[in-house]
Symmetry: C2
Subunit: 225 residues, 2 copies
């Protein structure tokens, strides 16, 4: 076995994941701006950029399988490779969700998909989504378990924001019609799912470092929802 | 290496995936019935049953990692183990989606979440979702590549049904209000995503048998959506 090459390969897998996380984090930020500003150019930019993320995932998957076959890693190294397969799927899916947000911006252009009274909530969801993904990218490199577990807690705010959207929609005062309600429902779900994937990446980091599942390490009991 | 034990382990991974697929296929069928009949008991049954699926996934993951570490499989065997990690994630997520459908049924009980003019579409989506998962379970065992690729084509109908829901929602005649529109939007998305996961399982089977990605084998060009 070529040990030097092996460690390079292992590091390049982590680098690939960080690159994916940076790309999809940037994509959700740009998609949010495109949505709130009804910026067609920026929306198109996010839509066309998603292919890069898909290519990175496929490339990572191939390298992970090759590494498993040739180098037969064990212990933490094995967990790095195995979790990379899961994490790259989470990141690829996050890219899809940023793409969905951008497509909605494009679909409603030159109109605005999001009515004025939901702008602040959507902005905060978009910013939080991008921040959670930046945290996920960071823990991919640092392998800091506490920081990784923190994402679970920070994600609670996303759930609150998601509920805020439904409160607006169910309000008697809602006068934006059904189409806008449908748009807001879908967009709310896209952000919530994006955040879930960032949390999932962090949870995989917890597993790769400790060999234990994040659920077993979090002090709070799992919610029943 | 204990070769006999090794093949047993490998087979038990496939068996675990088939068991998961059967469970979530049944769950989406029961969730659909619970939703359309406003059957609280059945909804609760689906909700509590999801834990079994989560346990199976965790168990499968552990066995896959142990097998990789101890037996160092190569070629098709390696692909079976690697794809099992992806497929179990798809199946676990499908279970969550069935759970979401059941939760909506419970939330609106004793009312009906789905208005009369959408019942037929939702029924067809639920049946198609269950059927696609049954096909996925089958190709997990048969490793039949043509049958696996067929799921991609059968899923087109799900996309049509999903569009039908939006057409109803955007219709001037829609008089069920915003809450029902939000419910229908979410439910439509749950079924569509459930079907996507069944298709993803089948695509992983294509990869594990051929070493090639389904996209490269499908005759139709990939859609740009």
């Amino acid at each position: 076995m070529m040990r030097e090459h092996y460690h390079e390969e292992l590091e390049s897998i982590t680098d690939g994941l960080v690159e994916m996380a940076n790309l999809v984090g940037s994509a959700i930020g740009r998609a949010t701006t495109a949505l709130l500003d009804a910026d067609l150019h920026l929306a198109e930019n996010v839509i066309s950029g998603d292919e890069k993320v898909d290519d990175l995932q496929r490339d990572l998957e191939e390298r992970a399988i090759t590494l498993l076959a040739r180098q037969q890693p064990v212990a933490t190294d094995l967990r790095i490779v195995v979790t990379s397969l899961r994490m790259s799927a989470d990141l690829e899916r996050s890219g899809d969700l940023a793409h969905h947000v951008a497509r909605l911006a494009r679909l409603r252009y030159p109109g605005h998909a999001i009515p004025r009274d939901l702008r602040r909530t959507i902005l905060e969801m978009g910013q939080l989504a991008q921040r959670l993904m930046a945290q996920a990218a960071e823990v991919l490199t640092t392998h800091d378990v506490d920081a990784a577990l923190q994402l679970d807690k920070d994600d609670d705010r996303m759930d609150e924001l998601h509920r805020t959207i439904f409160q607006h929609l169910m309000d008697e005062q809602w006068h934006h019609g059904v189409e806008t309600a449908v748009d807001a429902t879908l967009v709310g779900r896209y952000y919530e799912r994006f955040a879930d994937h960032a949390v999932a990446v962090a949870r995989h980091v917890v597993f790769l470092v400790t060999g234990q599942h994040a659920d077993d390490l979090l002090t709070e009991p799992p919610t029943t929802t």
